[in-house]
């Protein structure tokens, strides 16, 4: 049976196996596979954001405490660096603060992003970040919410590829191999002329939903939207769309607001006009309670956040947990959500206990009415300024 033919078959088999094994080294592995982060597109987005964050200028940090707020859209909407710094200065503490809140981020990824930023601060020779604020919001600990995020990462398979190919951190490796560069160029070529509306992450797609589905209340949940002021919403959305320049799938850093998504601040005039509109529309101030699924707490997410905060604690001088003001007036009638509040408080206390990071709880802070919120969590610009001042007052600097 054994013959030259069999030896030839075996040698060919070895040769082809070798080719298959070497191919990824020669031509580059698929970008998605080489992405070292567990969260793929989200992590690439974070890296790109970090790259776009300029090193703080000496004037901004010398002799001043560097404060960075991390979190989801709740931080993005609820933290106003100027108001925070103003209040801190009034109390005799010179601070420079940044708003790094990002839409649709899971809690663990927020903290990991914070850790990377803190390390970046240390690496850039500006010393350790004085204070890192970490947001605690029930929604980001929800199993359902995080599953939706993961599903979205899967949903946007091709845009995700495009996003990764545009991640500057991947470019050096992409250029190292002709095949990799070719693939990167292919994706870039295919998607480069696509308007950001179509390709950017779910943030942009959510915006599409806002503009195409009436009454557009899903994410922003403006609540006071009435058909006569639909034009205002369009302006709101158009302003937000400007954040993404054509060909770019991550927002640019905005030095004016010291954050990445300055939409809320820039929209203050539009917001004020909306506010005037609701003054003439009685019954539009009903507070919105969170959905029941937001209280579907995932123990794994809690453990992940504890580990990540402990890791962050080694990179920043001080880590502080923050619960931003909540639109609590609707809670008593919200059934399951109301019942879950003790569980949520216990989770916050557990994170505080196991990480040693103090918790500043503004969730029941006085002076916030339903009209200070877009929905249950998201503060309107004027309220964000008040909340940030309150935070600066309570933060032991």
């Amino acid at each position: 049976m054994v013959g030259l033919g069999q030896a030839r078959i075996f040698c060919t088999m070895l040769l082809l196996t070798g080719c298959a094994a070497l191919a990824p080294r020669v031509f580059g592995q698929a970008i998605a596979q080489r992405d070292p982060e567990p969260c793929g597109a989200e992590a690439a987005r974070m890296r790109t954001l970090l790259d776009r964050w300029p090193a703080p200028a000496d004037a901004e940090v010398v002799g001043r405490a560097l404060v960075i707020a991390f979190g989801s859209s709740v931080t993005e909407a609820g933290f106003a660096p100027d108001a925070f710094d103003h209040e801190a200065n009034a109390r005799g503490h010179a601070t420079t603060s940044y708003d790094f809140g990002q839409l649709a981020l899971s809690a663990d990824l927020q903290v990991l992003f914070a850790a990377r930023a803190a390390r970046r601060v240390a690496e850039r020779g500006t010393g350790q970040a004085e204070v890192v604020l970490v947001e605690l919001t029930p929604r980001t600990f929800s199993r359902t919410f995080n599953e939706v995020l993961r599903e979205k990462a899967q949903d946007y398979y091709w845009p995700r590829r495009a996003l990764l190919s545009e991640s500057p951190e991947l470019w050096p490796t992409a250029r190292a191999h002709p095949g990799e560069a070719l693939r990167g160029a292919f994706y870039h070529h295919v998607f480069a002329d696509v308007p950001p509306r179509a390709v950017r992450t779910w943030l942009g797609l959510k915006l599409d939903e806002l503009t195409t589905t009436h009454p557009c209340l899903d994410l922003m949940n403006l609540n006071f939207l009435v058909p006569t002021i639909q034009g205002e919403l369009d302006a709101f959305c158009a302003e937000r769309a400007k954040v993404f320049p054509p060909g770019s799938h991550v927002p640019a850093y905005d030095p004016e607001t010291r954050g990445f998504i300055p939409g809320y601040r820039r929209l203050r005039p539009a917001y004020e006009r909306l506010l005037r509109a609701i003054d003439g529309a009685p019954g539009r101030e009903a507070a919105l309670a969170p959905e029941a699924w937001e209280m579907d707490f995932d123990p794994a997410a809690v453990s992940d956040v504890i580990t990540a905060v402990q890791h962050l604690g080694r990179l920043a001088r001080r880590v502080v947990l923050v619960r931003y003001p909540e639109n609590v007036s609707a809670l008593p009638t919200s059934g399951r959500v109301h019942e879950a509040q003790p569980e949520w408080s216990a989770i916050c206390q557990r994170i505080e206990r196991e990480t040693g990071a103090p918790l500043i709880d503004l969730s029941r802070a006085e002076g916030f009415a339903p009209r200070d919120f877009y929905d249950y969590y998201h503060l309107v610009p004027t309220a964000a300024e008040r909340a940030s001042a309150l935070l600066a007052a309570r933060l032991p600097l």
Partner: protein, 471 residues
């Protein structure tokens, strides 16, 4: 140990060395084939080895008894064999489905009770090797094939690892003689084997990439409304995914068998070029459809000549159920039963002159598109996780108003890539199956092998499971 993992490559290289260079004599090689196949099966689940080997041994001795016996004892022994095999299949695969359906039925008539479930996991490949075993005893009963006297030949052919877990379903008359001869692979056969393996891996890779478009669309339909663009993209992507996945698996199975000196029958023949549903099922999963034709449909049709449509629907519902215990497969079967019955009626009532038009070359592309459209609907029923989800997906395709996930250029680019993902594997299939003399020319074969391997190695994800492993 999936075909697309380094573990399988290592296993196969080691097996090839031992089988080809070290094993002395046919008996040693047969023992090695059976042992290697059982080891391969054990890498998925060792618990079900007794089921696999046990049912094989029973059928081997039952076939011998059938061969020796006279009527009516022969028939009784055949019934024992068939019932035993189907009972094993039913117990493992359909018990919980039957219990759940009984509970639903009781709820419908107002009886609120919870029927307990058995919770059995069905053995991998049971649908494939059970059918193969049944065909052996039936062939012996029909006297088209004389039973073998050596158990080892039968067991080695039944458990032969390239086709054990997802087919093709091979007749004993075609495979056992090869195990008796144990001819070594020729260089020409091995070259074709390499080609099939490389093309199979590339198809599997393309299928996984298409899954990135199909899976979210079906998941979305399972959860709620889905837009027309997403639904169409998802359905077409699944057409490419299921074809690439299953035919890719089959190609790898055929290729590895060729490297060991065995020839397995083809399972696909460029199915999406079919010009009618009947034509399609003569090109898609051919080993199952010919099995069903020979052992189920033909006996039914001969026995109940007066009820051709009923025979068709029963046959198709059973084909649907063969895929798994789910109502979506039942609906899938009913759908194809109705399609076939309708074609049957049409062929009876339409004038011959009109039917002759379909033979014209100019009409063929229209027929191909029409058939693909019917196939897409079948695929939606097949892929959906529930009948409701399938309904939503079909609603989305024809009346979907939900906002699309992708819009503008991104949707067009995705659509283009999806079409490419469907068309390219068909083109490869056409080249390999229909034009072997061209594909096996060294100047075509080796570049094709290398390009396919590089494509699979760089873009594929090692260890992505095969869809038909679930059946």
């Amino acid at each position: 140990m999936l075909f697309n993992t380094p573990q399988f490559v290592a296993f196969f290289l080691a097996f090839f060395v031992v089988y080809t260079f070290l094993a002395r004599g046919p008996r040693a090689r047969l023992v090695l084939l059976a042992a290697g196949s059982i080891l391969f099966y054990a890498s998925f689940s060792y618990r079900f080895i007794p089921v696999l080997v046990g049912s094989g041994i029973c059928d081997f001795y039952l076939a011998q008894a059938i061969h020796r016996a006279e009527e009516p004892r022969r028939k009784r022994l055949l019934v024992v064999s068939v019932v035993m095999n189907l009972a094993v299949l039913a117990v493992f695969k359909y018990t919980d489905f039957a219990l759940a359906s009984a509970e639903d039925l009781l709820h419908l008539v107002g009886v609120r009770t919870q029927v307990p479930r058995v919770g059995l996991v069905f053995p991998l490949g049971i649908s494939f090797y059970t059918f193969q075993s049944i065909s052996y005893t039936v062939d012996v009963y029909r006297k088209v094939y004389a039973p073998r006297t050596k158990l080892l030949h039968f067991l080695a052919s039944l458990t032969f690892f390239p086709h054990l877990v997802a087919g093709p379903i091979v007749r004993a008359s075609s495979l056992i003689p090869q195990f008796e001869a144990l001819a070594p692979a020729t260089w020409a056969a091995a070259r074709r084997g390499f080609l099939l393996i490389a093309v199979g891996l590339a198809k599997k890779c393309a299928a996984d990439l298409l899954g990135g478009v199909a899976d979210p669309a079906f998941a979305r339909a399972g959860a709620g409304a889905v837009g027309a663009v997403d639904a169409w993209l998802g359905a077409v992507a699944f057409a490419g995914q299921v074809y690439g996945d299953f035919s890719g698996y089959t190609d790898i199975a055929l290729g590895t068998a060729l490297l060991l000196g065995f020839t397995l029958p083809p399972n696909f023949d460029v199915p999406y070029l079919a010009t009618s549903p009947v034509d399609l099922w003569q090109r898609w999963h051919m080993s199952l459809t010919t099995w069903i034709r020979d052992y189920l449909y033909t006996p039914l049709a001969l026995r109940y000549r007066a009820h051709p449509y009923r025979n068709l629907i029963i046959t198709w519902v059973l084909i649907g159920l063969w895929h798994g215990p789910s109502w979506t497969y039942v609906v899938f079967g009913i759908y194809y039963g109705l399609v076939f019955s309708s074609l049957h009626v049409l062929s009876d009532i339409l004038p011959v002159r009109l039917l002759a038009l379909t033979e014209r070359r100019a009409v063929q592309p229209l027929l191909v598109l029409g058939t693909f459209f019917l196939v897409l609907i079948g695929h939606v029923l097949f892929r959906s996780s529930s009948v409701l989800g399938a309904g939503r997906m079909l609603m989305g395709m024809f009346w979907g108003h939900a906002p699309a996930r992708l819009g503008g250029t991104a949707a067009w680019v995705t659509a283009g890539l999806v079409v490419l993902g469907v068309v390219l594997p068909q083109a490869l299939d056409y080249l390999v199956v229909r034009k072997p003399e061209l594909a096996e020319r060294p100047r075509v074969l080796w570049p094709l092998v290398l390009v396919s391997l590089i494509f699979a190695a760089t873009l594929g994800q090692s260890g992505q499971s095969f869809i038909y492993f679930a059946f």
